[in-house]
Symmetry: none
Subunit: 414 residues, 2 copies
């Protein structure tokens, strides 16, 4: 197995800048069968950079770096690697001309500092930068390979997709890496773990194929991931498909989607296929459910309207909720959620209606109905189905869980 | 100087999950004068975790970790540190009871696996988790301090803000690091940069106080940040206040808030203070505006209702939009946005109304009204104010920019 690690250089990455390169690079490496074993982020300090280079080169076959190739005083990647490998930097005229060209295109004068960027390590393969001034470099050191890339994604990506992945394919014998991800809402991680255990046991590292299972718990959603690594794409595809079916069998209806699918996109797909429409009436989720539904391109095909009824007066006027019911059961009750669903279904003339009423907090809870109490009703012309849940978490989390629960409720009807 | 580094455990962080803890932790450490020297991310593999522990403990005074404290087979942080420090894990009844309590509150059955989480290293200080099942731990090893925290931010943060920072303040001699952040919506970074330049020039690194200015461009919002570091809190407070006033003077009404404030919280504060109410009518934002407004605790004091009118029929029935106007000007027009605002204002009997209608894409654009065209109307009983914008970006970005623009429009009236 080829061990690959990534070094990210830049003080801003330790202070206030999200490192968006990491997952982009991981994603690209996957296409040639590599996965990242480690990512290290250090600031623009000589000692730290040199130290991290020494460790990484010792540990790994390929060391990728991003950042620190700019023209200013705090761009130290070139110099540090030169010191660590005891290999001098050499001026390359072709690179200098390419940098000059960049400035000409931008109709700007080249500052003197940029000449620094025309130096690469002795015997390094330069990678010209079409979107910026910092060239990349591929360096061989014994059996190790070190690749220096600039920090900005728009400069880094063309180099990675072109020269770098080509170099890896030619010089490292790599196979394919395929994956499938199944999404589940509203189940505890431990329950999923238990259910998939027999499938994992049966398929973990087969004789001719490496298979890795993982359970990733996001905030409210659990992902079951299966990765395979190997040399015969057809075999891997077929096997992954078999594993997917086995997982779906043990997980049943709890799986709401695969890979890029979201609860709202799945609901949209199903409504579209049936040619049916949906409207929603929200209280505690305050528009989040409608917002999720309308995040899906083309949702205007099946989504007619949403109302956010944050006051009793709005519930009565917009949904024909009865004052008597409000007085008797309170706005957060099964009875009100049913009247809300009936009201929006009838008024919007939709095929489906969802209503949500609850207490998102932080205040408003009582002993009988604590913060997190939420009532749901799903209705169509023939029937009406209600549910309630006690969610934990802060205001945003209760809103999020409620909206996802409502979508999951609808999905399970189809 | 105290050297602090962070280890992040979780294969998902090397594959498909953005590490949002890094900057949150860096931000909190700043409040006690610490900065991160290095961040290492490794997957859920024993050897990698142990190796990273050994290196980090050798290099740094404080090693913080997040992730890998869950109940499943791939949560290995506890076991790996126990092996590295050669210190056994011990069962703690108080933690077990706390975990049981969590499940009771959620009215769920505790799976057997969760018992693993009640084990902590010998002599570790446990940090109870009020938002999840994984307890944190503070471990002393010679002069080194190792802090284990869970992965989810909502569980990690209360621990960090409470027990962990308290422990650091007590056990490490640290100074203060104060900051103030001003938020601006809808202005280019270069314009802000130019405006604040005189203030920066005058206040950068004073004789007795280190002052750092930074402009952070988020997706749609610009933050102007000022940091000071030192030992006399009163002096720092006073100086930061002076700088803040100077910045506000040059930036004027463009600054919508400070620090934790959001556009929706500022709008809420202003409405509350005036004792006025708001309702909204949304088309292309699909509920996002109502959702933002209701993210603010206590928003039911001033927010009456929202309608998401995704069909012409809904616009007519819910907002008295005229069919004639729709036919003549189209649903995305100044005329319709005005009728929508008038309709929601009148029907909801609110003091203020906002309407939004536009094209969020990816389809639906025309030469005259490309994707990103959005019309806004702000109305109260006395007057009506309309605006339109051409936003760039994908569907989600256009929704986001539109909702923020609408809030900013209202804020500027007060």
């Amino acid at each position: 197995m080829v061990r690959v690690e990534l070094l990210c250089f830049g003080t801003e990455l330790l202070v206030n800048k999200v490192n968006s390169n990491l997952l982009i690079i991981a994603d690209r490496l996957e296409t040639v069968g590599f996965s990242l074993s480690r990512v290290t982020t250090v600031g623009d300090e000589k000692k730290e950079i040199e130290h991290s280079f020494r460790e990484a080169i010792k540990r790994s076959d390929i060391v990728l770096t991003c950042g620190g190739l700019g023209p200013t005083f705090d761009d130290l990647t070139r110099e540090c690697l030169s010191k660590v490998l005891k290999r001098p930097l050499q001026y390359k005229r072709e690179i200098f001309e390419q940098i000059q060209e960049q400035f000409k295109t931008a109709r700007a004068k080249m500052p003197a500092e940029n000449k620094r960027q025309a130096y690469i390590l002795k015997d390094a393969i330069p990678i010209l930068n079409k979107c910026g001034t910092a060239p990349g470099q591929i360096i061989s050191a014994g059996k190790k390979c070190i690749v220096l890339l600039p920090g900005p994604a728009r400069e880094l990506l063309p180099m990675l997709d072109g020269a770098v992945l080509d170099y890896f394919k030619k010089n490292f014998s790599v196979g394919y890496r395929l994956k499938v991800i199944l999404h589940i809402f509203g189940k505890p991680e431990s329950e999923i773990d238990e259910k998939i255990e027999p499938v994992v046991r049966k398929n973990w590292n087969l004789k001719d194929l490496k298979v890795i299972f993982e359970i990733l718990a996001h905030k409210h959603i659990i992902d079951v991931c299966v990765f395979t690594q190997g040399r015969t794409k057809e075999l891997m595809d077929a096997h992954l498909f078999k594993i997917k079916l086995a997982l779906k069998k043990v997980l049943g209806d709890d799986v709401y989607g695969e890979n890029e699918e979201t609860l709202e996109s799945v609901v949209g797909f199903l409504l579209n296929r049936r040619g049916e429409t949906l409207s929603v009436a929200e209280s505690c989720t305050g528009g989040l459910l409608a917002n999720k539904i309308t995040d899906v391109p083309g949702s205007s095909n099946y989504f007619k309207e949403g109302v956010v009824v944050y006051s009793n007066e709005s519930k009565i006027r917009l949904l024909d909720v009865k004052k008597k019911t409000l007085d008797r059961f309170g706005a957060v009750s099964k009875e009100i959620s049913e009247e809300m669903a009936r009201g929006i279904l009838k008024r919007s003339k939709s095929d489906w209606a969802i209503s949500i009423t609850g207490i998102a907090g932080p205040t408003g809870g009582t002993a009988a109905k604590p913060v997190g109490t939420v009532f749901f009703t799903l209705a169509n012309k023939k029937q009406l189905f209600s549910a309630h849940r006690y969610f934990t978490g802060n205001r945003n989390e209760i809103k999020e869980k409620s909206a996802l629960f409502a979508l999951d409720l609808l999905r399970r009807q189809f």
